[in-house]
């Protein structure tokens, strides 16, 4: 099957790549653009480790075709920090030890950032239900939720 040419904006940069028609956006990001920050935990939209923001909407990049990205904007974990300055969420995840192995952390950070941009003052329940699509097996979620709350508070100042 012949490849499809895609031009899109990823983390503010114009990119072009070729992808197979049935290739997921996750595989395009990782194998074509070497952006390996988004992770495949399941490939079926059940774990959230591949979360990206597509035209402002939080989605699982494993359930989007690479071909669909043509002409659209994508934000991945690699775009969360501003150069060397970590985003408050990134810093709070480190301060609170809200990650152990770290495989789910990119997905959580992208999802939490999307939440705080919608709702700068979410309570524990809102955070837990918004992040229910991001599986973590190491932390039991406690420190992740506390880190998100702490970052939200700092960002509100």
């Amino acid at each position: 099957m012949s490849n499809i040419h895609v031009s899109a904006t990823v983390n503010g940069d114009a990119v072009e790549f070729l992808c197979e028609p049935d290739e997921s956006l996750l595989d395009s990001l990782r194998d074509r653009l070497a952006l390996t920050g988004s992770k495949e935990g399941c490939g079926t939209g059940d774990c959230g480790a591949c979360s990206v923001v597509l035209d402002g909407r939080l989605v699982c990049s494993c359930l989007v075709l690479g071909a669909e990205a043509d002409g659209r904007t994508i934000e991945t974990i690699e775009g969360v920090a501003d150069g060397d300055d970590l985003h408050p969420l990134q810093q709070k995840f480190l301060d609170h030890a809200a990650l152990q192995c770290g495989i789910c952390t990119p997905g959580f950070l992208v999802a939490a950032k999307a939440l705080l941009e919608r709702n700068p003052d979410p309570d524990e329940t809102e955070i837990r239900y918004w992040l229910a699509g991001n599986l973590c097996r190491c932390t039991g979620y406690d420190k992740i939720v506390r880190a998100v709350m702490d970052a939200a508070e700092e960002m509100r100042q």
Binding site: T76, I77, C101, I103, A132
Partner: protein, 754 residues
């Protein structure tokens, strides 16, 4: 070996604080490289063909069409894997590992690997799999323990006769081995009991559930040397296993551990690494092999499922007079389930005069089980802690008091044999009893459960080295992959010992060619053993620095000692010179004899067991059987918490894995012997909105065998939850729950008196 003066119990500058981990930035910016994140020039993609049958003879494997497909570079069958000698340092039977990595004449479970392909792209490899013709002769299968040990059960290994049986059996069976532990006379004990509890408990198999599927990149070069880069808990183990399975010299294989996306014991063996390496050997190209999630469920290493009969007797005063357990574990299609550990854990928390545990290792047509965090302990504790809860109610004694009255302590003869040294079980029970949680009110349809748990903890072969840079900073090199933030603990212990700031210490995990042998990250051994090795290596370096200071001062070497990061003249020469800092000594290193480093290679011992007690409040919806965990508290003895945040993280992570296993996680096999829920949709692990904050309390009863008093904490947290939640639900419903997982259909049936 260096002399360790007992410094546990004193206040420290870095040990016990909560610094940010040195490797954190890469992990929060997506730059950290996990198993599937490496690419190599000329790399091929591999896929494995797996059996759709639970039990079938493989009559033929025809790969001609697959080999002819454009873009296919290598096709592998079991003939390409020949067992050399080697792998003696591993606990597993290499023949079983070989046969589990790829079926040899018989497919033994749904998902068992039968062939593999390496091609220019993953999609070509997938298409090639469909062109491989495998001729199966389907055989009757069995996936359930009780059916597998029935007389008419289909036999999985015609040559397997139950070992350690007296008299020796004549017929083959699905029971690989019997074992037994205990002391005293349980019959006499039951005679003295006023109350006896007897019941059968069952637990279904669970999966470790690490979010990162197994992934590796193997590169076999034409000169016979090879490299593997993979996510694993033990890259030295991967090297030994792959060398054995490919008949290679150990020295020709170098394995590098990538960052690892969770393991919990499931990545302490090999599944795909030998396949990728053999494919690479066949075509001389680097080969990347990554499991899909359904492959992880069907063909990696879940826990055994279990059937456990428990009988416990106690007198009116609440003293346990006899404890008996008979445990059947199925370890999948191969002997070697963790039946010994399960049997040894069952009564480990208690001081029993009369105790016996019999264990049976059963085989069924399921994937070969691997360790899952305190393997065997959660199932055994579920049965025993449920029994104790029932007895406490009938005796009319508070469940914690009942456990305190029988709790193991220093000098207790453990049910599995040796005398306990100083342990902290009673301290965790006292803390639970005094906790706000235990004394709070319950709401409607709610129940509270308590349970205790234990894990042996291990030492084992360990190496570490530490080098002092010219700028006075230090780099610790260990051989234990960092799953839960252990690099931070290593840096804390090194900084504390050297007397330099935490920020001046880095920690790296070395590959198998850069550090002497180091055992796997498992058995809660990393902070204990690699920690000890780091302290000894640091002291080794301090010895070198003291001799350099002596050289600079022109005084005898043994007239220098080390305090707060400085060399100081001592003895007759005390006060002769200003103390010299590590940085000052390091800067002159090349003038005083060359680079400064220290190292340590040893068999880590002096292990301290870690005990824990959990409290669980569960609320049920009597109309639907839905269970909500409304409050959960973990209280566990860490000896000394090096980094309290990561110790709490182990407590919280283990508790939530336990909650998932207790309520919803299970392997569901159909009548056809195939796994029905091989995905995160129907293998239901807890999501963020399922659980409350997990409250924790770190008890510290130091392990005097460790320089900083450490007890490994990684595994004990998963032992109590099944029992604690089982007891909570039994109180909420008013009926004893005896099957794990306690899913809504089972809870509703119990509520309706089923």
């Amino acid at each position: 070996m260096n002399k360790i003066d007992d410094i546990s119990g004193t206040e420290y500058k870095y040990v016990g604080t909560r610094p940010v981990r040195p490797d954190g930035v890469d992990k929060v910016t997506g730059k950290a490289q996990f198993g599937a994140d490496l690419y190599a020039p000329g790399m091929l993609f591999a896929k494995i063909l797996r059996s759709p049958h639970a039990h079938a003879r493989i009559l033929s494997v025809n790969t001609d069409k697959a080999e002819a497909l454009d873009g296919v570079k290598a096709v592998l069958t079991y003939a390409d894997l020949e067992l050399g000698d080697g792998g003696h340092d591993l606990e597993d039977d290499m023949n079983h590992v070989l046969e589990n990595v790829m079926a040899r004449g018989k497919a033994l479970y749904d998902g068992h690997a039968v062939a593999a392909v390496a091609a220019n792209s993953a999609s070509i490899a997938k298409r090639a799999l469909k062109l491989i013709d495998v001729e199966y002769e389907v055989l009757p299968h069995v996936t359930d323990i009780e059916k597998a040990i029935a007389p008419d059960a289909p036999i999985i290994h015609e040559d397997m006769y139950t070992q350690d049986m007296d008299p020796k059996p004549e017929k083959p069976s699905n029971v690989a081995r019997r074992m037994e532990i205990g002391h005293g006379d349980i019959e006499a004990g039951f005679e003295k009991a006023d109350f006896i509890f007897e019941r059968r408990f069952r637990t279904e198999a669970a999966h470790q559930g690490y979010i990162e599927p197994h992934a590796c990149l193997a590169n076999y070069r034409s000169d016979g040397h090879a490299e593997i880069w993979c996510c694993t808990q033990g890259h030295f183990m991967v090297r030994s296993a792959c060398a054995a399975l490919l008949g290679m010299d150990l020295s020709k294989l170098r394995v590098t551990a990538s960052e690892i996306g969770g393991g919990f014991g499931g990545k302490t063996t090999v599944f795909i690494e030998p396949v990728a390496l053999a494919l690479s050997r066949k075509c001389g190209r680097p080969v990347k092999l990554v499991m899909d999630r359904d492959e992880v469920f069907r063909a990696s290493g879940p826990t055994p499922s279990s059937v456990i009969d428990v009988k416990i007797g106690a007198n009116k005063e609440g003293v346990i007079t006899a404890g008996f357990a008979e445990l059947w574990f199925q370890g999948g299609a191969f002997p070697g389930s963790v039946i010994d550990l399960g049997a040894m854990c069952s009564f480990a928390c208690y001081n029993l005069e009369n105790v016996k545990a019999i264990g049976w290792d059963v085989v069924v047509n399921r994937p070969k089980s691997a360790a899952y965090r305190a393997p065997g302990a959660p199932m055994a504790a579920f049965a025993v802690e449920s029994a104790l809860d029932d007895l406490a109610d009938r005796i009319g004694i508070d469940p914690i008091d009942f456990r305190l009255k029988n709790a193991a302590e220093e000098g207790t003869i453990a049910s599995f044999g040796p005398k306990f040294r100083r342990i902290g079980l009673k301290e965790t029970l006292e803390a639970a009893k005094a906790s706000d949680h235990y004394n709070s009110q319950l709401g409607p349809n709610q129940g509270r459960g308590v349970a205790s748990g234990f894990w042996f903890n291990f030492g084992g072969t360990t190496s570490a080295s530490i080098k002092i840079e010219l700028d006075g900073t230090a780099v610790v090199t260990v051989g234990t992959p960092d799953i839960g933030g252990s690099r931070a603990s290593m840096c804390q212990m090194a900084a504390e010992t050297l007397g330099i700031p935490y920020e001046d210490v880095r920690c790296i995990v070395a590959d198998t060619s850069s550090l002497p042998y180091s055992a796997t990250t498992e058995g809660s051994r990393t902070t204990h053993s690699s920690g000890m090795a780091t302290v000894y290596a640091a002291q080794n370096a301090i010895g070198v620095m003291c001799s350099r200071a002596a050289m600079i001062w022109g005084i005898p070497e043994d007239a220098v000692d080390w305090k707060d990061g400085h060399a100081r003249p001592s003895g007759a020469n005390a006060g002769d010179f200003e103390p010299m800092s590590l940085a000052e000594i390091a800067k002159k290193a090349h003038e005083t004899g060359g680079p400064i480093a220290g190292h340590c290679e040893f068999e880590a011992g002096k292990v301290g067991q870690s005990f824990g007690t959990h409290i669980a409040d569960a609320e049920i919806d009597p109309e639907t059987g839905f269970t909500k965990i409304v409050r959960y508290t973990v209280i566990q003895d860490a000896g000394r918490a090096i980094h309290p945040s990561y110790v709490e993280g182990q407590y919280q992570g283990g508790a939530v894995q336990g909650i998932g296993w207790a309520l919803n996680e299970e392997y569901i096999y159909g009548e056809d012997g195939r796994l029905q829920n091989a995905g995160f949709l129907d293998y239901r692990m807890p999501v963020c909105s399922d659980v409350p904050m997990i409250e924790t309390e770190i008890v510290e009863v130091p392990n005097t065998g460790h320089p900083f008093g450490v007890r490994g904490v990684g595994e004990t947290p998963i032992a109590p939850p099944l029992g604690a939640i089982g007891n909570a639900l039994s109180h909420a419903i008013g009926r004893r729950m005896d099957t794990i997982p306690m899913s809504p259909p089972r809870v509703l049936e119990a509520v309706n008196g089923g």
